[in-house]
Symmetry: C2
Subunit: 134 residues, 2 copies
Amino acid sequence: MSALTPHVLEALSVDECLQLLATRSVGRIAFAHDGDPQIFPVNYQLHEGAIVFRTDYGGLLDAIHLSIAAFEVDAIDPEYRTGWSVVVHGRAEEVWKPAELVPLRTLNLRPWAPGARDHYVRIFPRSITGRRIK
Amino acid sequence: MSALTPHVLEALSVDECLQLLATRSVGRIAFAHDGDPQIFPVNYQLHEGAIVFRTDYGGLLDAIHLSIAAFEVDAIDPEYRTGWSVVVHGRAEEVWKPAELVPLRTLNLRPWAPGARDHYVRIFPRSITGRRIK
């Protein structure tokens, strides 16, 4: 690194990524819908290795169910150019089996946007990548 | 709204969205690459109605040039469930004409990640939408 680029970009291990994902509650989910990229902020929790969030019936739920999604969480200080970013790729799916919903309903998982939003979407990671700038 | 959903979701005008975009410096860009959604945080500035950010040659630049992108900026308080989110859709393109690069190089536009990142990408909005939760 030269004096002009004193920051160091460091790749994070999957374990580090999972630890960082557990420290935040808002992420942004991206997926393609009718060929166009869509992106939304959601409140999420990490549950048994999967990203889980709530949404309403229709709209986002219809669009994202069974889509390949990219889910990003970060903590960035733009002034000091430090922080980290973690991206999870995987298939998003609505959780509908009652036995699987029971534990999800006990999570402290409040949707960011108002409304009932009593449908749960889960992303099982196909890949988890992250980077940190020191 | 019931007592259980005291928050109000409000659609923002384009002018409000542009004003909010001007208040932040980190956003997340989403686009499809080889059919899979990609998402990255970037430092950006609003310049003459377009989103502008810097990146390295290769990697992100190759993937995003001429892609339809979705660019999201937000300020969310997960605890109080308040905040706003703005999404810009448009075609991303590298700016390469010298006459267009001159004003971009005068922006206080520092990339989040280290490295020279002396290529500029611009997104002219095809649509701008936003929502606020009070």
